[in-house]
Amino acid sequence: MVPTNYYLVLSAILFGLGTVAFVFKRNIITIFMSIELMLNAVNLAFVAFSQAFGKVHGQVFVLFVIVVAAAEAAVGLGIIILIQRNRQSLNVEKVNLLKL
């Protein structure tokens, strides 16, 4: 069997890469995708712990995370379409109404 630590390190790496994409990307769709990447990394950790402890609670949680991610994608992409319609741009730098 693969040691649980390996899965957790992979999960940490994927989460870190998702954070990097979230900070550095300027396209709002790509930023949204990096959030999905971070959710996936957390799911991997959940399933790894579920397997390590021999209980399925972690897998049930992953199901809930996936449902929330799907709902979030539907609403978020609606917001993205609205931003494009109002600003004619997908660049987050141009969406700065709340910026000082």
Partner: protein, 167 residues
């Protein structure tokens, strides 16, 4: 090296490569395709861990539904290459080191052989799907019903957001 470990390393390397490609690609559609690679690799890892149901859901919901929605929106909005703008000074100098520090500290936290994780059994869970279903409809039935409500709200929210304003 056992074949299971070899499969793990191949899938893990592919997943990390896909994630790096997500960061480096300039065009959003290339980033989306890289993300699909990551998700399929993660589904393979779930299979390796004996979580067949989660692997199937990962492929169907993430790879099939969410990513198709993303690509649909990218094509609908005709999203072009990312415009290059100057980073804020803080992001330029502190962004990458801080992100690396976050990854390193997370990895350092989990790489230490914790007592509970090392002492765990690590055997495949027998009849995992059966256990998940009975748990979902007994122990977690209340949150499960709440998710259906959440999806209803999400549908209505997406409809309200995307409809055209009447003059």
């Amino acid at each position: 090296m056992s074949p299971v470990l070899l499969i793990f390393f191949v899938l893990a390397a592919l997943a990390v490569l896909g994630a790096v490609s997500l960061v480096l690609q300039k065009h959003p559609i290339h980033s989306a395709l890289s993300l699909i690679v990551v998700m399929v690799c993660l589904a393979g890892l779930y299979l390796l861990m004996g979580a067949e149901f989660i692997a199937a859901v990962q492929i169907i919901v993430y790879g099939g539904a969410i990513m198709v929605l993303f690509i649909f929106v990218i094509m609908l909005l005709n999203a072009g290459e990312e415009e290059h703008t100057d980073f804020s000074k803080l992001a330029k100098f502190a962004g990458l080191p801080l992100a690396l520090a976050l990854t390193a500290s997370l990895a350092a936290l989990v790489i230490k052989p914790g007592q509970s994780v090392q002492g765990a059994t690590q055997a495949l869970i027998p009849k995992a799907t059966e256990q998940i279903s009975s748990m979902l409809f007994k122990e977690f039935v209340y949150p499960f019903e709440l998710t259906s409500f959440l999806i209803l709200v999400a549908i209505m929210g997406a409809l309200v957001l995307a409809q055209r304003e009447k003059k």
